[in-house]
């Protein structure tokens, strides 16, 4: 059986019969299998090989392997051709759609999107999926809706002394053999205060495993100020209100090695206008191991009030 199947019927077009022409002998489903074991970029690029190759490289058999099963309903919806459904007519289109339009899953608390070239999965945990200490106290935090966010509600920090945000994700839903990095995605409001020169402790690691800690800054303008001031942290320490616990005048969370090597870490602006700060990296070896990855943002040592932060979520995406 299965032997029919040459993709190409253009044998007559090449004058000298080639000794080996893989595509003329390989069954379509074998070519599709090969392409499904490459990456979306490879499958896309190889559609330029020839017209017959293109039809395999664009087939659903190939792209089905690049789209997560959770997104299948978008595809089946569209085949019913209801006017409201998305104009998605192939798995390749579905894949490309998911690269630019994160899909809300887990009751809208988690968003899933795909990295275009590798097809690897990216997630963002919404604030509803995070543990935020004091979130239920309206004087400290409130829920708000903003345009250009992927979640209906995001968390706005009014003010706290104890800032603690934690998120957990099961590693089995991450892409295997992938180096991921976690980012806090946020904005500062015009009245933001208390973050200037304030070291924030961030951690990423498997629950029950090794945790990687480092110190970062959430001060959006810190990176710019740094060019003019060499030692902003010192100044921050001296300016701190006296409310701090006596005897703790020494520089707080010690500068970590990475800070000494690469300089302090400040937020970067994203293409969507939000800010992000890297919390740490995690290498996800296999897709089968069941483990929980915990990411956290902590400022509980300084004891000073801080406020004016809007948290969209924690993003986990492959590191280039």
């Amino acid at each position: 059986m299965d032997m029919d199947p040459t993709v190409s019927t253009r044998r007559e077009e090449s004058d000298e019969a080639k000794a080996v022409n893989m595509l003329k002998v390989l069954p379509v489903d074998c070519i599709a299998k090969v392409l499904s074991l490459t990456t979306p970029a490879d499958a896309c690029r190889t559609s330029l090989v020839s017209t017959s190759f293109k039809s395999v490289a664009e087939s659903n058999a190939v792209w089905d392997c690049f789209v997560p099963p959770e997104s299948d309903y978008l595809f089946s919806n569209s085949s019913s051709s209801s006017p409201s459904s998305l104009p998605i007519s192939s798995k390749k289109e579905l894949f490309l759609h998911l690269c630019h339009h994160p899909l809300l899953i887990h009751d809208g608390k988690l968003s899933l999107s795909l990295e275009k070239k590798s097809g690897k999965k990216c997630y963002m945990l919404s604030p509803k999926d995070l543990i935020i200490v004091w979130i239920d106290t309206p004087a400290y935090w409130r829920w708000t809706s903003l345009p250009h966010t992927r979640f209906p509600e995001v968390a706005e920090l009014i003010k706290v002394c104890w800032l603690e945000i934690r998120g957990r994700i099961n590693t089995c839903i991450l892409s295997p053999a992938t180096l991921y990095a976690a980012y806090l995605v946020f904005k500062t409001t015009t009245g933001s205060y208390g973050f200037e020169s304030q070291p924030i402790e961030v951690e990423v690691g498997l629950v029950g495993g090794e945790i990687h800690k480092q110190t970062v800054y959430l001060d959006a303008y810190g990176g710019r100020r740094l060019r003019y001031q060499i030692v902003p942290r010192r100044i921050g320490v001296f300016n701190r209100p006296l409310r701090r616990i006596p005897g703790l005048q020494a520089p707080q969370p010690q500068p970590k090695e990475n800070e000494e090597l690469n300089g302090p870490k400040y937020p970067k602006e994203r293409v969507d206008g939000w800010l992000e700060i890297e919390l740490g990296e995690f290498f996800n070896r296999s897709g089968k191991d069941n483990g929980e990855l915990e990411m956290s943002v902590l400022e509980v040592n300084g004891g000073n009030w801080k406020g004016g932060l809007i948290v969209q979520g924690i993003e986990i995406r492959p590191k280039p």
């Binding site: 299965d2 074998c30 090969v34 490879d42």
Partner: protein, 182 residues
């Protein structure tokens, strides 16, 4: 020898099965090896259903779509596969490491053209592990390579209309970033 769970019959594992290729070569292989070829297994099962006395392996199984060269390689691969599995029956991780090591060495002695033959043979014989392995080998050979490289690899020529290819190249520009040099 450890219990061959994939063996369909409770017959002794020393049973031999004879396979005849399209170029009329005859291979005598152990039943455990032949049973990894689902097409052969199917043939055997059907035979068993039709003929209760079968079991003594005098059956000659014709393989009209497989040549002797790829079959010989597949048998070697299959034997090694079973051996590694038997040696690491209680350690899946070790088995995977040994298998990976063997497959890496295996590929050093295989020409790209041979991969086609092997895929075809493994596909016909429905030998899943081998088919997966050879497809993975081709996939990694063409991964991140230029269109020209892939054409050469598969022995193909562009048959797009003038201008068509350029248009596609523009449309899929993102997939051309960072491609290896040929």
């Amino acid at each position: 020898m450890s219990n061959q769970s994939e063996s369909p019959n409770p017959t002794s594992s020393s049973n031999k099965i004879t396979l005849k290729t399209s170029d009329n070569e005859v291979f005598e292989v152990e039943e455990a090896v032949a049973m990894k070829f689902c097409t052969v297994k199917q043939y055997f099962d059907d035979e068993n259903n039709n003929n209760v006395t079968s079991g003594t392996s005098t059956t000659l199984i014709p393989l009209p779509n497989v040549e002797s060269h790829p079959l010989a390689i597949l048998i070697t691969y299959c034997k090694k596969h079973l051996e590694i599995k038997a040696n690491n029956a209680d350690n899946k991780k070790e088995m995977e490491i040994d298998m990976e090591h063997y497959e890496r060495e295996f590929l050093k002695n295989v020409m790209p053209q041979e991969l086609t033959e092997l895929i075809l043979a493994a596909n016909y014989l429905n030998f899943k592990e081998a088919l997966d392995f050879f497809c993975r080998a081709v996939a990694s050979a063409i991964q991140n390579k230029s269109v020209e490289y892939v054409r050469k690899f598969f022995g193909l020529e562009s048959d797009f209309k003038p201008g068509e290819e350029e248009k596609l190249r523009e449309e899929f520009a993102w997939s051309f970033e960072g491609v290896d040099e040929d």
